[in-house]
Every structure is written in C-alpha cells, then in structure tokens.
Symmetry: C2
Subunit: 588 residues, 2 copies
C-alpha cells in the first residue's frame, strides 16, 4: 500500500482524470469503444486514492491511508435496520410456510455459462469473479435463474416444488448519466455501482391445471403485502399471450416484439408520446402500427369489466394467442374471487415486464405512496365490491418522475433503488415462466421437452418495503427501532460494584430464558448503567444493593417514561424474582 516513489502530485492526477473523463464521455456518446480509456481512468483513480488517502492530508513515511468504506453501491446495515429487515423476512416467511413452501439455498455465484443469455440487454450488469485459474464464475443476478438451474439438475428429486428463497443478488447498474447530474462524479466514482439487494422470491413449480397455482401466487402476494402492514396497494396484472396477440394484430414484425414490448413496459414512467417516439424513431416501427398498439395499451381497470370489453373485440378474439390469454384470464378471475383477492387487481394492458423468460400471466404490485396519478389503489383490507368500484379504467397519462436527491460522496449516496427490477413504486413483481427450466435441461443434453417444469413466482422488493416502513415510522415520529431485544438490565447500587452478585443473578435470568445484560465493569457508575438502559430502551431494570441482598430482596424498575417507571422500583423477594419478571415481560 506504499505510494510509488515517483507518483505524480495530485494536481497532475486530477488534470489527467478530468481529461480522460471527458474523453470517455465523448466515446460513449459517439458509440465508440471506450473500455481502454475507462480502465485507464480506474487506474488513475486508484493512484489518486493511494496518493491522497481518506482526507487529502500528507502521509508520513509514504504510507498510504486506507479508505474505510464499503464498495460503491453497497452498504452496511446497522442493528436497527437489520432487525427491521429480519422482521420483514419473517413476516414473508410465515405467509410462504402457510402455503406449503420449503426453502433452498444456492451458492452466491454460478458458473458464468449458467447466467449467459438469460438477461437480454441487462447481461452487461452481471458481476464477474476474477479468473484465478479453474472455472469462470459470476455473482448471481437474480434468484430465478439459479432456481431453474437447481430444478433442471434435480428433476427426479423435486419434480414439483414450492420454494421461497431470501438472498442477495448483484448487478453492476449503470450510473444515471442521462439525467446530467454530477456527471463527472458519477463517471469517476460510480462508473459501475454495484447494487446489492435483498430479495425474497416465492415460486411454485410443477404439474397443475390452468391458473390454479397462478391464483394461489396472487393470493400469497395479497396476504404478504397485507401482513407487512404498509398501507394500500394495487396489483397490476396482464398476460404475455394477450400482449403478443395485440402486437400481432397491430402488425409488429416478429423480430421486433421483444424490443417493442420493453418500450410498452415504460408506460408506468413515461407518457405515451415518449414511448411512441421510442417505438418509431429509435426502433423503426411503422407509425400506424404504433398507433394501433396505443389503442390497446391505454386499457386498465377491474378484471372482469375489462375482460368483457376485450372479449367483445372480435378482431382481437380472432388472434389465437389473445383468445387463449383472455380465456385463461377469465378462469383466473374466477379463482381470485374464491380467494377473495380479486378486488386488489387492476387488469392493465400497459404492463409488459422486461424479462425474456415470462410466458403467461405477469404482475406488479404498486404501493399507494408511490403510485403515479392515474393508477388507483385499493384499500389493503376491504370488501371486493368496494375495492373494485374504486378502480376505474383510465388511459395512461403523463406521470411525475420520482425525484432523486443529488448523490454525494457520503454514505447516503450508496442507497440505490432497484427501478430496473420492479419499476417506480413497485414493491413486488413476478409472472409465469414455463420454459426456463426446460431450457437448462435441454442445453445440458436432456431430451427435448423432457425437462419442462412450468413455474410461476413472485419477488418481493425488500429494500422498497423497508423504505416505506422507515418513512412510516418517521412520520409517526417514533424513535429509531431497537437493534436488540434485551428485556432486563441488572444494575448494582453501592457495595463496591457487586460484580459477582450481578453475574450470578444474570445467569439465573439466562437460564430462565430471560434476555438480560449487565455492565462489564467491576465498579460501574450508577448513572452509566441507567444511561445504557435508556439508550437501549430496555424495559426492565433489576437493581441490587448490599442492604437489600442481605434481606433477600432486589428492586425491579420499569423503563423511565413508562407508567410506573423511574423511582426506586418495587422490592421483590429474590426467590420469586423470575416469576415476577416473567409476569412483567408477558405484559410488555
């Protein structure tokens, strides 16, 4: 970590970096190769780090300063944040388990070939491990592809499986260069910020009759979002076959369907005019074809009503794939009605979802707090009739873009929102993918059609849910959540600290299953012990002193600020302390 003897002064480095930054930008905008310059820029940046260190001061003896930080695009989660995430996970897990799910665990990296060709344009965001000899590997980009690989490898053991999986995935997201904010900062420091995010996936794979597992997945989605208690939400719902039918009817050439579909997917963020421009100008689609698509994608509303509208459209019904998709939606809506969740759905022709592997229904849950105007949200709990009435068919219009505060060098700048995955305001998404497992099976030499395992799944955006919960907690002006669950703190008053007595007492509490702590000092100051209880919001304090101990007594005090809190505390006989504390804890 020593700086090279002849390292240029930082001013020169800065000038070189500025020059290169401009050059890379020029190359990028003129669509020329820029990798060599990019790499050079990275080297300069590292040289700069070595020369400058954390604060820009000169270092003694040529020793470089170590920068204490997490890699760009990642962050540490402190105790309170981690506890809140754990609560989100366990709420989701309890719903998943109720529906018969098991969980599997796959490695955080996969062979590079397994991920190849699964993510279309986004493949460039895959994070590679260095070639240190042996196999080439990459960090997983999602949990779906590893799951499909697992199923294809374990055909005989798990012919059908419902699983959930909570884990981190990795993407080298592009910086938001196009927005023109802090461009150089982004170019230098966050060229490829790594977004690490927790995801919770739930998938049902295996044999089934049409729309039965699909309806259960949507039921799970509604139960999960309701259990998370984060307020109102709507589930936007569409079917790939209907979309394909619309494209076919409009006359989109087969080789343009994927790219036109991904343009449609932007309708939740952009007005129709902009999407039309992308279709015609950027992607060379005939204007009249685009307009025919525009006729359909404006439709959204309660499932059965919109279904009736579309089924009355003879031209659309004449397209086999649309006909098939609409039939399946009719069955789905019946089942959703039985499960009592139909009222949460908005049948939405503009929902397309970017990923290549979806083959049937697709859906996205939108939270009320971030839904763009024009998308009605349902009450989280309510009668279906009322909820259905609240959702009206409205054309997709111009919506406000979510405001991002300018990023800076600080820790907050690393907070990334996974817009690419679930769109603005989306908190969960998913769909049916019937071909992915078979694709792996066949690619690995399996009999054609032999390894087909149809799947349907949802993915909950845990970071998004976390942000909403945090905002709600702030709005209620609550204190930051506790990072721990300690119920009792054992405090000594006088008597030279009473360390051994505190240790003996706290061990009794542990053995009784009570979460308890004490100060690690032989002679702790009284005020410091109470300060610790306050800081940690520990609800109960057991106070021991030499005089009370002689009488076989201790005192129990409730948290300051609570009813019956502060003061000297209540005297309790030592041999009924556990019983007394357990009764107090039961009331917390």
């Amino acid at each position: 970590m020593s700086a090279p003897a002849g390292a240029p002064p930082t001013a020169e480095l800065e000038a070189q970096m500025a020059e290169l930054t401009v050059r890379v930008h020029e190359l990028k905008t003129s669509k020329q190769p820029f990798q060599a310059e990019q790499k050079q820029l990275g080297e300069l940046k590292r040289a700069m780090n070595v020369a400058v260190g954390g604060g820009g001061k000169k270092e003694a003896a040529g020793k470089a300063r170590l920068t204490l930080k997490t890699p760009k695009g990642t962050k540490d989660h402190g105790p309170s944040a981690t506890l809140m995430r754990k609560q989100i996970f366990s709420t989701l897990e309890s719903i998943f388990l109720k529906h018969g799910a098991c969980t599997i665990d796959t490695p955080v990296f996969e062979l590079r070939d397994i991920l190849a060709g699964k993510y279309g344009e986004d493949s460039k965001l895959i994070y590679d491990l260095q070639d240190q000899g042996g196999e080439l590997c990459s960090l997983r980009y999602d949990l779906t592809v590893p799951f499909a690989r697992f199923l294809a490898m374990n055909q005989s053991t798990y012919p059908s499986i419902k699983r959930y999986h909570i884990g981190k995935v990795y993407r080298r997201d592009q910086p938001a260069m196009s927005k023109g904010r802090m461009r150089e900062f982004y170019q230098c420091v966050r060229v490829f910020p790594v977004v690490s995010r927790d995801r919770t996936d739930f998938d049902i794979a295996g044999n089934f009759d049409t729309m039965v597992p699909d309806s259960e997945i949507l039921c799970i989605l509604v139960e999960a979002l309701t259990a998370l208690d984060i307020g109102e939400f709507t589930v936007k719902l569409n079917h790939r076959k209907i979309l394909d039918g619309i494209f076919e009817l409009a006359g989109v050439p087969a080789d343009k369907i994927r790219s036109i579909s991904s343009a449609v997917d932007k309708l939740d963020k952009s007005p129709w005019e902009e999407v039309r421009r992308e279709m015609t100008v950027d992607k060379g689609l005939d204007g009249t074809i685009a307009d025919r698509i525009g006729e359909y994608v404006k439709f959204k509303g309660p499932g059965k009503e919109l279904l009736a509208t579309l089924q009355a459209d003879e031209k659309l019904m004449a397209v086999p794939s649309a006909n098939q998709g609409l039939k399946e939606m009719a069955i789905l809506f019946d089942y959703l009605e039985i499960f009592g969740v139909l009222g949460y759905m908005s049948f939405d022709m503009s929902l397309a979802r970017g990923l290549d592997y979806y083959t049937g229904i697709i859906y996205e849950a939108v939270h009320a707090s971030s839904a763009p105007p024009g998308i009605a949200t349902q009450p989280a709990v309510g009668s279906d009739a009322a909820a259905t009435a609240a959702a009206v068919v409205v054309p997709a219009g111009e919506v406000k873009k979510s405001k991002k505060k300018p990023a800076d060098e600080g820790a907050d700048a690393d907070e990334e929102v996974d817009e690419s995955q679930v769109g603005v305001g989306s908190i969960a998404a998913g769909g049916r993918y019937d071909e992915l497992v078979g694709m792996f099976y066949e690619a690995s030499g399996g009999k054609k059609g032999g390894g087909k395992i149809p799947c349907v799944g949802i993915s909950v955006g845990v970071e998004r849910v976390y942000s909403i919960m945090l905002a709600q907690r702030k709005a209620r002006e609550e204190r930051e959540g506790r990072g721990k669950e300690t119920q009792v703190f054992v405090v000594a008053v006088g008597g030279d600290g009473l360390l051994k007595e505190r240790m003996a007492l706290v061990k009794q509490l542990w053995d009784a299953g009570i979460k308890a702590e004490f100060a690690y000092k032989a002679k702790p100051k009284l005020q410091q012990q109470f300060d610790t209880c306050d800081r940690d919001q520990t609800p109960l304090t057991v106070i021991i002193g030499p005089k009370e101990l002689e009488q076989g007594l201790v005192r129990v005090r409730r948290q300051v600020g609570k009813e019956g809190g502060a003061g000297e505390g209540e005297p309790v006989e030592q041999d009924r302390l556990i019983e007394y504390l357990q009764a107090q804890i039961a009331q917390l």
Copy 2:
C-alpha cells in the same frame, strides 16, 4: 458457446493438459512461479469443456453442451438441509439474543485493501472480483475483518456493541494434493476449490473490566452447544500471553514467534515429534529451545489445577507476559465458576490458534464424536465437580488422522470440511482481539490509540454442527427431515374434483393461520393426493366429498401410520372445523 472451428480433438487437449499438470506441479514443488502455466491450464480446461460438453458425446451444429452444476467447492442445499440449517441458526440466535446481542449485515465483498495483510499465509485463498472498472473488491474471507472495519467506521455510533452475524464466507482452499489422491483430477478440476460455508459469529466489543465479557462469551459458547443438543463437548482454552511467555522463556527469537506458534497449533493433529521436526528442520529453531517448549505444551487439564501447577513454576512466573496471562486466567476461572461452566473447560497449553489478530484468551470447542484420543470430553450437562474430575492432565500424543474418503466427480466430492478454521473435530472457536479495530482506525488516518475497541468473539462451525446432527439422525434411522411445515392437506373424494370447494376451504384455513395445501389439479386422482401427504409427512388430511358437503360435514384423517391414522377419518361439522384442526395441531 460455439466450439472454435479449428479446435483440437479432445485427445490432443487431454495430452496437453496432462503435460501442463505435471509442469505446474514441478514448478510448485521447486517453489518457482507457476501462474502463467496455471492460467494456460485453465484455458485448456475450458476448451475441453467446450469440446466435450457434459457427457462427451458429439454435439449437433457445433453447439456446446451446458454443464449443469454449481461451481467447484460450492453446493446447493435442498429443502431438508436448508430447514435443518435454519433450525441451527435460530437456536444460536435465541441464545445470542438472550445475551443482549444485535445483528448487523455487511456486503459479501469488501474493498481489496480492507482484507490485505489480515490473514498471513492464507491471503492467497482470498477470492477476487474481476476488475470491470472502478474499485478492486474481494469476497469476504471471514466475518471478523468486515466487523472490525464496520466498528472502525462507526466509532461514535457504536462505541460498544454485541453482535452476531450469520453469513457465508469464501476461501479458495488448496486441494489435498499432498495426500497423493487423484492428483490430476484435483489439479485440473479443483485447482482452487472455493469453499463456501455458513458461519455464525458472535462478538462483544467495547469497554469492560478484565475477563468479564470473556467469561460471558464462554458461557454463551456452552449454552449454545448445549442448546444444539449434539452431545458431549470440551472447550480447550489458552491465553496468548502465556504462550508468548513460554516462547520467551524457551528462548524463541522474536521474529520466529508467529511461525513457531503455528507449529504448536498442529499438536491436535500431529504428534510432538512431527511438530518438533517442523520447528527445528523446517523453521530452523534450536533443538534445545524446541525441547523447552515441549516441556510446557504437553500440559492440559482442569483450569484451576493446571493454573496452580503453572503458578508454582517460578521461572515462568518471572516472565512478565506469562505472569500477566496467568493472573487473568485466575480471574477468568472465578467468573466461569459463577456462570457454572468451568467444568466444560480444558486449560490446554498446546492450543495456539493460527490467526494473527488474537491478543488474549483463545479457545476451541471439540465435539466428543471427533475428539482424538487423549482429549477428554465433558458431559454436555452435569455438575461442575463431576465434569472437572473427568478431565485429566495428559500429554499430547500421537492421534489418528481423520479418514477422508477419496473425492470423486460427484456432488459429494464438493463437501468440504473447514479444517483450517477450527481444526479436526472443532465445532466452535474464537478469542480476544484487541488491536484489529484500532489497526483499521489508524490506517485510515485516525489518531494513534484513539480508535482502539477491544473485542472478544466466537465463531460456530455451522457445517460441522450440521454434519454431526445428520449423523445422529442417521444413527437413529430417522426418515429424512421434512423440508416444509404443512399441517393440513385438503383432499377431494368424487364430485368431479371439487376444485372450487377445495380452494374456498383452504383459504379459510390460511386465514386462520393454518399451514395448508391442496392439489393444483381440477380432477386430481385420490391416490395421488394421499401419496403427496405421505411423501410430505403432512400430519392431517381434510377430506371433502359431495355427500358430506351437503350435510355440512368434512372428514379429518390423521397421518397414515400414526395412532388413529388412515381409515375414513372422523366426521367434523364444517363450522367447527377450524377449532377442531387447531386442537389437533396443538397436540402434534
């Protein structure tokens, strides 16, 4: 993934690979650089994969076969294994939470500079991410260094913290070449097998009086291993300062202390003669110095007895660091007695622990099933007196090496035991590290001595615990554990499948919090439904049929093979079904 047109036939590739393999081995053994050859070998291997594919058959149209597998050294965990691991985690978590811990979450990779210089000889096992522009990163090697980095970054927010952290760590372990087994296989396919393992760490950082948190950590260790219910174990215990005192007394030159210490650490696997040979022949230590070390490292036994023996040794007591260490051990044993865990300890002069950052007490828990002869184990629960009496002072002698079955290409070959971390038979380990956080603080420009946060921690070898549990389950001839928790399966008899009726019923169960499933078929076969219940060991079946439904009845059947199982089941009125099931579930 197409094979290059002029790719050599596989026979030629094989010959080249064999030649290179020998060459790399020669270079390695003669300590010459071999990286270039290694890399070339990797390229050949990949060419081989492309040419051969998964099964060695010729591919049509030049399309290479995709190999469906996880990267070498990693594996998938199926539902049953994952559930068992989750149970291990939650047992450990419940103990940690009882002791006032919180949990934090750090990224799976760190800046490369953060990991540099922390692992001595093992640094070569660190797994690097590819340089794709931007910062250089590596996968974390353990959870301790990221925790120290976190503390150094958050001095003001978390001046003292008790935390646990469960997560995977990554090491490019060397293959077992020296054992002469399947050398080429290892060299070609597992040059750097990646060992991914789950770890559970618990650390207490911050201000304290001597040995107070240390004694709680050992109390936690005993409570955790007892709660895991895996049978008898012993905690081997030593102190770095005593070891350093012994080395000083014996006359080990200061610059050899680390390497001699790591030789001593091998005494749990190798006889003294072999360790002495390493000290004198390999590491150039004077024979008489080695023999003086040998006098001490043979000591092990109950804490207070061995302490008395050593404190009676005037020469040793005259060495300040040994004197200090022994004083601290005396305090520790007092506290461990209060916590009632002293009987689990074996004070062991041969325990050295390899890692550079330990500064105080060090310890390692050894499970009875794998303890080498000569190491006495304690009853997991028992009176201190009895347990103490069972441990006797014995010299370290020749012990059997654990037998490894020859590795093969199959999935089992990927099962790796983390011997480097915790030694043969060790299931948990740890120690005090007072300088690591301060090291980060100062390296990043902090005031010298300003950022010191002393820490003491344990790390539980989850994979090891899992293996022991699995072996115990097999010994009891139990069926493979359930991967799910489903309580009720809803079955239709006759009536054209009764799909909608089953859906409506199962939704009632979900809403009541009952874990329930049904077949996703409109007309499922009766036998298939019962087979599913049997396979999943689902304890209860609710059977609906058209006739009973008319009468407002369903039947509830207990799992086949259980008391009251099989048969037609008991008729239950529909409106008291939930109540009835909840009563049944309470008895499971």
